[in-house]
């Protein structure tokens, strides 16, 4: 069962795993996850729906949240986002 996984890894680091989810879930969960974090906190985001990546990039561009790292391996995306 596709399950959203949101974890507080301590020291301002969070993990959001929305692999298996399609639009619009990854972008909505990312927005909600960032809203629960404090400025400066980092989110490790894992997803596998390519079009969500385009929307999340635009979303961060608007909010000012910074995408520090973008990794991609066999259809899976792992991004690090820092809340502004």
């Amino acid at each position: 069962m596709a399950q959203v996984k949101f974890e507080d890894k301590g020291n301002g680091n969070f993990l959001l795993d929305v692999c298996g989810f399609v639009c619009p879930h990854p972008q909505i969960y990312t927005k909600k996850a960032i809203a629960k974090m404090k400025p400066g906190d980092k989110l490790e985001l894992m997803f596998d729906n390519p079009s969500s990546g385009e929307s999340i990039t635009s979303m961060c561009d608007s909010t000012g949240d910074e995408i520090l790292e973008k990794k991609q391996e066999s259809g899976k995306f792992i991004w690090i986002i820092q809340k502004v």
Partner: protein, 451 residues
């Protein structure tokens, strides 16, 4: 690193293989009968759409959904750009009588269909065309949605005779019009100017720009100006607003670029189909199927569904009906299949080949970009895919088209009905987002319980 290289190479081989299969199919069809060039043209335009949709992550569902859900206008921008580009090419086509576009009956059914379709596309995670390109990415939820679109439409137009009454008693009594053909425009303008002013300028470009500015004011403007004022000193000027609009256009370059190319391609597609019709002296592929002896494929009028331009849902309804017919259900005693669109075998269905081309094109592109991943739908996604697809199918039949046939093509072709459908689609997307916001908030609350 070697594993990555191997995967990359394997993906490339698959992409070439897919393209090769389509080339082989094209050659085989041509060998069987030269009339199949008509069908081959559909295949390759479908392939081109698939490539561009996947490259631009071009999904009409996200245009309004992402605005309401996460405040992202990138896909809205892409669609407006595509429609403007397509409308300009359509002016040339209409002026040279190479247009295959027919306006749809104008009425409230378009808005009602649009609302149902809009809710469905948010639930399914993609519009009708988006669902197809996502199938090409290996997205199982989209595959379920596509199957649901096929069967929901086929059943909807066949059960109880209701749809026939809807067509004869209401839809066919509604006016059809393009702005260029209204009295005001046709009396004051002639030649290409008539189509430019009526169909492109009044029906497409001006409303698109007005919507564009409205979206800019409602969404990115505040954040953009705040950021810009921090960086520069002095007062806010008109130049800052222009910079803000430009930033909105260029926020996702790949979507905006895809928008321009899709718009132009949709126009060239019409030109190519009209060229095929002139070459074989026909107005519909059904005439060619009849000439080849496939009389069971065509409707009582001797036609099959052959829009002559980009279209998605009707051919999916035909596929659904063809399958149901194999189970012994009579699918021809209705206007939709029996009189209008026929029920060709899937391998002789021109528009269905366009849809297959879209899936293959998107698959090739996703493979080359290492974005292909087969995802089996699980849990709630099965429900969203099937429910969303069913709603899209019903909405598309009520409105006589989807986000492409009832919205994109109609608006650029000068039919105000495209906006009537679009208004419904926006309302539907809003309702869908409201529901998902509530749903995801619940799921998120469960996920953070352990914090």
């Amino acid at each position: 690193m070697e594993t990555v290289d191997t995967t990359e190479k394997r993906n490339q081989i698959w992409a070439f293989l897919i393209t090769g299969i389509l080339i082989l199919i094209s050659i085989l069809y041509y060998k069987v009968n030269v009339y199949y060039i008509y069908l081959i043209v559909y295949i390759w335009f479908g392939f081109a759409y698939g490539i561009m949709l996947q490259y631009g992550r071009f999904c009409f569902a996200s245009a309004f959904r992402d605005l309401f859900a996460v405040g992202v206008p990138r896909m809205f921008v892409g669609i407006m750009i595509a429609m403007i580009a397509f409308s300009l090419v359509s002016v040339f086509l209409a002026a040279t009588k190479m247009e295959t576009f027919h306006p749809g009956p104008l009425g409230i059914h378009e808005t009602i269909g649009g609302i149902i379709f809009g809710v469905g596309m948010v639930l399914a995670g993609g519009c009708a065309s988006g669902t197809l390109y996502k199938c090409g990415e290996g997205n199982g939820t989209s595959m379920l949605a596509a199957i649901a679109i096929c069967f929901s439409q086929a059943i909807f137009v066949n059960v109880g005779g209701w749809f026939d009454k809807f067509l004869t008693g209401y839809v066919w009594k509604q006016p059809t019009l393009t702005v260029a053909n209204t009295k005001m425009i046709s009396e004051n303008f002639s030649g290409a100017a008539r189509f430019f002013v009526g169909d492109a300028l009044i029906n497409t470009i001006i409303p698109s720009i007005v919507l564009f500015i409205a979206v800019y004011i409602l969404w990115p403007r505040k954040g953009f100006l705040k950021k810009r004022m921090k960086e520069k000193s002095g007062k806010k000027s008109f130049g800052d607003e222009i910079a803000g609009i430009w930033a909105m256009i260029t926020q996702s370059k790949r979507t905006s670029i895809a928008g321009i190319i899709i718009g132009i391609t949709a126009g060239i597609h019409i030109l190519a189909m009209r060229g095929m019709q002139l070459k074989f002296h026909v107005n519909n592929f059904g005439q060619l199927l009849t000439r080849m002896g496939h009389v069971a494929d065509v409707s009582s009028r001797g036609t099959v569904f052959d829009p002559g331009y980009w279209y998605i849902t009707s051919q999916e309804a035909q596929l659904g009906a063809w399958v149901l017919e194999k189970f012994g259900i009579d699918m021809r005693k209705n206007i939709f299949f029996g009189v209008n669109n026929g029920l060709p075998a899937p391998w002789r269905n021109p528009a269905l080949w366009m849809s297959i081309g879209i899936i293959f094109g998107a698959m090739a592109m996703a493979l080359l970009n290492k974005e292909f991943k087969f995802k089996i739908p699980k849990g709630e996604l099965i429900v969203w895919g099937l429910l969303g697809g069913t709603l899209m199918g019903i909405g598309a039949r009520l409105a006589l088209g989807c986000n492409i046939g009832a919205f994109f093509i109609r608006i650029a072709g000068g039919d105000p009905g495209g906006w009537v459908f679009g208004a419904g689609m926006i309302v539907g997307a809003f309702i869908g987002v409201k529901f998902f916001n509530w749903w995801t908030a619940r799921k998120m609350a469960e996920a953070v319980e352990d914090f």
